[in-house]
């Protein structure tokens, strides 16, 4: 199977400030749905999710590395559905530092400065990406 690449048009959606939704599944088959303030572009084949107090999501990923992220572009009437597989976790380095800085900024804007704290940058490989349009005509 060939590598899946993220289209360029998805990058602004990751940076639009709208929370994304993340789905995972435990080894016993129980799904979990949570929201996350941001998804981070690593390269055309990888995304990073912030590991903050994400306990159930992280436990599920350790058992079953598959995840699904929905990225919302409300003004374009579009949702991007991205399927992922966990690759690695980083607790320092440029990806971690960039995410840490951006999370602090988001926390400050949303009154959550004492709550949001980055534990790790979890890096995922993109396994599929689909653009769903739901505008007035669809």
């Amino acid at each position: 199977m060939g590598e899946v690449r993220l289209p360029d048009e998805i990058r602004p959606v990751m940076e639009n400030g709208i929370p994304a939704q993340v789905g995972t599944c435990s080894a016993d088959g129980t799904p979990n749905a949570t929201d996350i303030s941001r998804v981070y572009y690593v390269d055309s084949e990888h995304l990073a999710l912030s590991n903050q107090f994400f306990s159930k999501t992280i436990r599920n990923i350790r058992e079953n590395p598959r995840a699904c992220v929905n990225l919302n572009d409300l003004e374009a009437f579009t949702c991007w559905v991205v399927h992922l597989e966990f690759d690695r976790s980083e607790t320092d380095g440029p990806i971690f530092d960039a995410m840490d800085m951006q999370i602090e900024a988001i926390a400050s804007m949303t009154g959550m400065s004492n709550v949001f704290k980055l534990k790790a940058a979890d890096i995922y490989r993109v396994t599929s990406v689909e653009k769903i349009e739901y505008g007035p005509a669809s």
Binding site: G17, C25, F53
Partner: protein, 168 residues
């Protein structure tokens, strides 16, 4: 039984999404346009838009596993006094259970979704600057109503208590 204060939260909440998983344990996320708690406070019925995911029903029919996450409320038990919409909308709960029934959505369901859309506009247009058209497109007349009995509730409000199981 869903605690009364969580029922009040659900009535005021504006953002809903759900997770299912397929036979290969691949998770899928679904936008939920509206929801209503059953009279016995043991079930929740979710309303899905016309373009709901093709994997929703096959996943539910395969294994029944369903997780609904709801946030965007200023009427939850943790709401600030006086209310602070910019902070209060983070309150969040996840409801887990097994698929029970589904049917075509009807006019009463559409009215629930219309109210959710109006609440969403009131809360998030000032916070995020969404346009009226963008909000309206998200809360179209629903196509599918799906009911599940709630097995477990988890507090997912960001913070150290996230993940705590709520007594039912």
């Amino acid at each position: 039984m869903i605690p009364e204060e969580i029922v009040t939260f659900l009535e005021g909440a504006t953002v809903g999404f759900a997770a299912t998983r397929d036979a290969h344990l691949v998770p899928h996320i679904h936008f939920v346009a509206g929801w209503i708690v059953g009279d016995d406070r043991k079930t929740i019925t979710c309303f899905f838009p016309p373009n709901y995911s093709k994997v929703l029903m096959p996943s539910l029919q395969d294994n029944g596993q369903f997780a609904l996450t709801v946030l965007g409320s200023t009427s939850g038990p943790k709401a600030s006094k006086p209310p602070r919409p910019d902070v209060d909308f983070h309150e969040c709960y996840q409801f887990k259970g097994d698929y029970a029934t589904s049917r075509l959505a009807n006019a009463a369901d559409a009215a629930v979704v219309e109210r959710k859309g109006e609440s969403f506009r009131k809360l998030f247009v000032p916070l995020f600057g969404f346009s009226e058209e963008a909000c309206a497109a998200r809360f179209k007349k629903p196509a599918l109503a799906m009911t599940f009995p709630v097995r477990e509730i988890f507090d997912q409000t960001p913070g150290p208590g996230a993940g705590r199981r709520v007594e039912t």
